[in-house]
Symmetry: C3
Subunit: 113 residues, 3 copies
């Protein structure tokens, strides 16, 4: 069975749960002009979606992080390091990509539920 | 068991089916200078590969979309919205990335088979 | 059960094994100013991590390749073609993205264990 958590648009969803794995996408709702602030907001969005999907931070498997400016990766990392579960660190990759509108960070994750 | 659908190159394949999940990559074969046209062609390529893998649009789980120009995202979205199954919308993320040659869109997906 | 292979940082790991699938990230440790050299080094890193995870090249399912300069994709492909298992080619996508520091290649993979 597949469970889909609706997002902002009818043709996409925010998260999908299938075979004991949730795949989710998270961004900052408020496009503050700060990588750190957007990162914290996106990671809070991750927490909310994980909870809705029946998962949690300690069960994250992989994280693909897209940031709008590699020169500000340390700002992203500061938010990540404050947030991450050091007993269960996910595989993570982080690259620069131009994102939608004023988004500075977009995170795609998988977690066990 | 793992099934691999051959593509254009001997060292890569177009899709792999394993444990009830197909992972696929799709592009437009014809590199028309239009995001909408390439998006439609890439999504038709998705449909063909899903069918070959024994899956279909309603079982797509995740879509990672790379477009060559974020300023043309709405063109991509138009093709996506015409194509998507609104009863079973996948998790989708879309970022800008420089692609191979004249490609304007590249889609990586997972679907249940 | 989830097994995490530690990397360089306490808040991320290099690979995670869950439900018979390993997800890993690989880069070149030595940031030589050559796409070919970094590609070979990153693929050797892939081999080491696969072995640690109890997998191997012939069981790779998917590869997402980020290179710092699409104009040098053929250099990356040369290293890939020398390395790949032609009997078991993975699904692969390759896009350009700005990477961390002097990195020219970053590879995210999944493989059956």
């Amino acid at each position: 069975m597949t469970v889909r958590l609706p997002g902002q648009f009818p043709t996409r969803c925010r998260a999908v749960v299938h075979n004991g794995i949730v795949s989710l996408v998270a961004v900052a709702a408020d496009k503050a002009p700060s990588m750190y602030t957007q990162a914290k907001a996106a990671l809070a969005d991750v927490d909310r979606t994980l909870a809705e999907a029946g998962s949690s931070k300690d069960r994250i498997l992989t994280a693909m992080v897209y940031i709008s400016d590699m020169a500000r990766k340390e700002e992203f990392n500061r938010a990540w390091d404050e947030w991450a579960d050091r007993n269960n660190p996910p595989m993570r990759a982080c690259v620069e990509a131009t994102l939608t509108g004023e988004s500075m960070v977009e995170i795609v994750m998988t977690a066990a539920v």
